[in-house]
């Protein structure tokens, strides 16, 4: 049973973010010469990085550079072509319940149970992860992501942006140590992008770690502590400022 053993919630944190444990010093992700691709064929140069607890690392690069492929390898959804990747000191294996308990992800999956409403998708996720007080938690997240009016709607009745918000809410409605997001800014309006950025800052403050692929300079600037430029020839670590610069038109 995971009880609230850690420090209490910072006063400025949203109600739906609670720190459960003191921040560990163990890296949350360690990727060493990680080479990713399909059918044994790499799609980008090897990447090496460490993601400490309570920090955010962004993957930046041109379309098709391999950012999402790196994320999939970190999540165990793709066998690396070479190198190694560890999450919380363990080789990545999404078949392990322990891995799934600690890693939450929001990829570009646009798939929903057609008969389940927006709220029911969130209840399913929250209760499936043993979240106490799921009713209140789901209510807060629906409100936060502007979905309260659509709580009873089926996914088919939502706009693509609303469906994206539902996926993001589902990634936050459950406990986690690591949050992996693939271009979370996609299909969100400016206000929701700003809110998401603040939400991810709170996530870090509460002790969570964030790995995200993004093309949004503002999200990068506000959330990321460092960035990895994913490219064909050489992938390298960048400061956030350099990464923001790299996202300017014509640079990548």
């Amino acid at each position: 049973m995971l009880a609230a053993r850690g420090p209490s919630v910072p006063s400025e944190a949203p109600a739906a973010v609670r720190t459960l444990l003191p921040v560990s010093k163990q890296p949350v992700i360690r990727a060493v010469d990680l080479l990713v691709g399909y059918g044994g064929e790499p799609v980008c140069a090897p990447v090496s990085f460490t993601l400490p607890p309570g920090k955010a690392l962004a993957l930046v690069g041109a379309n098709g550079s391999g950012k999402s492929t790196v994320l999939r390898a970190v999540l165990g959804l793709l066998e690396p072509v070479g190198g190694r990747v560890e999450v919380l000191g363990r080789a990545v294996d999404e078949r392990e319940v322990g891995f799934r308990t600690r890693v939450s992800s929001v990829l570009d999956d646009d798939a929903y149970f057609p008969a389940l409403t927006v709220a029911e998708h969130l209840y399913l996720t929250a209760r499936g992860h043993g979240v106490q007080g799921a009713d209140a938690v789901v209510g807060e997240l629906l409100d936060e992501f502007g979905l309260t009016e659509h709580a009873g709607a089926l996914p088919v009745a939502l706009s693509s942006g609303q469906r994206r918000r539902l996926l993001l809410a589902a990634g936050l409605v459950r406990p986690r140590s690591l949050l992996v997001l693939d271009e979370p800014e996609q299909r969100l309006d400016v206000a929701m992008r700003d809110h998401l950025a603040q939400r991810l800052v709170e996530e870090k403050r509460a002790g969570g770690s964030v790995l995200l692929a993004t093309h949004d300079p503002e999200l990068l600037r506000v959330v990321a502590d460092r960035a990895v430029l994913v490219a064909d020839d050489q992938s390298r670590l960048l400061s956030t400022a350099d990464a923001v610069e790299a996202l300017r038109p014509g640079v990548l």
Binding site: V17, D33, G89, A91, G98, S105, G128, Q132, E140, P175
Partner: protein, 558 residues
């Protein structure tokens, strides 16, 4: 060194298999406390219950659906039994001396059983065997629960379906076609086939849980299918024949049942070891195939089955040196697609050997048997040759890049099916000619009729999507939308009508010169129809003409 930099000198991960007990619990949560994680089964049931409630399906609807399914199955079984019996009654009476040459009917049934086993293995690998696609992959697979409870129904689906299909097919062949044993024999043989087929589907599941690529399992199934007719021919050459299908003792059936149950238990215990990416891939294919079946879209079904076993990358990139212009570009593209699809090559070879097997089986080598063999196997072979056209219909990427009209593209696309079916015809018609004692004339007829298959392949490949808006037509199998039937008949219609001269020749037992001339004319029409870009049916075109004529009359009257 930045805290974000990683090097080889960093401490390695915990050894493989190290548990997660000493890893800190999740650092962040939406609430302070935690309740016990529910069972996987309850998550699955909750999802299903909500779906049932929302669809308004009460017990009455469920019972109605069950009743409908049982009635349709019974009618289908009855029709199949009747057809098998009818086929048997049309089989030629063969004197005992003749039965000693060629291969026996029970040998053919044994070979058919072999083919069924290959189909089950191949389809099980392509459609799963165990998968979680779409919403299940997104919302279930991330749950911290024992995945076995989530995947159990999916793991049972294919073994049960394979068992039912395998059992029914073998029972039909034994009881309907051979019909030389009692009901007990048929039931035991059908039961054995059902258990073996279920076991093969479970075997495919085991291989998946051990990380064996689905492509390898599918290819093994394809190889079994390909070997079957070769075995039949080898048996004929060696004089080896099965006099009667063996009577399976009940105790063997029980042993098989226990073995299948043990295989299922073993697979069930390994469900949690199947990687998420494999589950997603398999689930995605199964969803695509199910959608294609529901919408009666055979092209989409073919794509699902082919892509699921496609090689992820090519070791050798073709330089396309044979391309000299737009037409050769289309032809080379079609040839490449065909050569890179082992399933279709096997389909083409096996279908060409079917008429050969039929004519060396004295009990099948009658007029009806040969006509059916030529038409059915020709159609199956033709479907294999149209893969390039079907893919181009879905995504005309190469076509749009080429400076050719739509009609010219279709004419170019006739070349590969035409050439492939020419080879098919050479094998099939040589066999028919040998049976008729006049190889040259029959080969000529085969060559002249090959374009019919090409035209039919193109017509089937470029048919429009099923039209669900037309009026319903009552059939013994329930109400069917007429518009769908009109669309689905595009392709088979050309094949059947275009092969009438061949059918006539088989019925007459000889190839008349006049028939060859008629066949040539029919083949030319088939090519014209196949390369036509019109998607309207004959009835729709007649209606259009009528409306145009009426409009002109009105204008003239004014």
């Amino acid at each position: 060194m930045s805290e974000f930099a990683a090097t080889e000198d960093d401490a390695p991960a915990a050894p493989a298999g190290a548990g997660w007990d000493d890893v800190p619990a999740p650092a962040v949560a939406p609430a302070d406390g935690r309740t016990p994680v529910p069972s996987a089964r309850s998550i699955r049931r909750y999802t299903a219950q909500v779906a049932r409630r929302r669809s308004g399906a009460g017990i009455g609807e469920v019972l109605g659906d069950v009743y409908y399914a049982v009635v349709i199955s019974a009618i289908g079984l009855g029709v199949a039994l009747g057809l098998a019996g009818q086929l048997r009654s049309t089989l030629p009476h063969v004197p005992d001396e003749a039965l000693r040459s060629g291969i026996s009917l029970p040998t053919v049934v044994a070979v058919a059983a072999f083919v069924v086993a290959g189909v089950v293995l191949s389809l099980s690998a392509r459609l799963g065997p165990v998968g979680a696609g779409g919403a299940e992959a997104t919302w279930w697979l991330g749950m911290p629960v024992d995945r076995r409870g989530l995947l159990r129904p999916a793991s049972l689906r294919l073994p049960i379906a394979s068992g039912v299909i395998g059992g029914v097919v073998l029972a039909l062949l034994d009881g309907g076609l051979l019909a030389d044993h009692g009901v007990g024999h048929v039931l035991r043989l059908g039961g054995t086939a059902a258990l073996v087929c279920a076991g093969l589907a479970l075997l495919a599941g085991h291989l998946q849980s051990r990380g064996v690529p689905r492509r390898a399992t599918a290819l093994a199934g394809d190889a079994v299918i390909g070997v079957a007719p070769v075995l039949a021919l080898a048996a004929a050459l060696a004089g080896w024949r099965v006099a009667a299908l063996p009577d399976v003792p009940w105790w063997l059936l029980v042993v098989l049942a226990v073995a299948v149950a043990a295989a299922w238990w073993w697979l069930d215990n390994r469900l949690g070891r199947i990687r998420g990416r494999d589950l997603r891939e398999s689930g995605s294919v199964a969803t695509q195939a199910a959608g294609a079946l529901v919408s009666l879209d055979s092209r989409e079904l073919g794509r699902a089955l082919s892509d699921s076993a496609a090689r992820p990358r090519r070791r050798r990139v073709r330089r396309m040196r044979l391309v000299r212009g737009p037409v050769s570009a289309v032809v080379v593209a079609d040839v490449t697609v065909l050569l890179r699809s082992p399933r279709h090559l096997v389909q083409l070879v096996v279908s060409a050997l079917v008429p050969v097997v039929v004519v060396i089986t004295p009990q099948l080598a009658g007029v009806v048997g040969v006509i059916l063999a030529v038409l059915v196997s020709g159609y199956v072979g033709m479907l294999a040759t149209g893969e390039g056209a079907r893919r181009a219909e879905m995504a005309p990427i190469v076509d749009r890049l080429l400076p050719m009209s739509a009609t010219a593209v279709r004419r170019a696309r006739l070349i590969v099916p035409g050439a492939a079916m020419l080879l098919w015809s050479a094998v099939a018609f040589a066999a028919v000619g040998r049976w008729e004692g006049e190889v040259g004339a029959w080969l000529l007829l085969g060559v002249v009729s090959a374009p019919v298959w090409a035209g039919a392949a193109l017509r089937a490949a470029y048919r429009p999507s099923p039209n669900w808006e037309g009026p319903l037509v009552a059939t013994p199998m329930g109400a069917l939308p007429g518009g769908v039937a009109a669309v689905l008949s595009r392709g088979p219609d050309v094949a059947v009508l275009g092969m009438v001269p061949v059918v006539l020749s088989v019925a007459l037992g000889t190839v008349l010169p006049q028939v060859v001339v008629v066949q040539a004319a029919v083949s030319a029409i088939a090519l014209a129809v196949g390369s036509s870009t019109s998607t309207k049916t004959m009835m729709e075109r007649m209606t259009d003409m009528q409306e145009t004529a009426e409009a002109e009359k009105k204008r003239a009257g004014r």
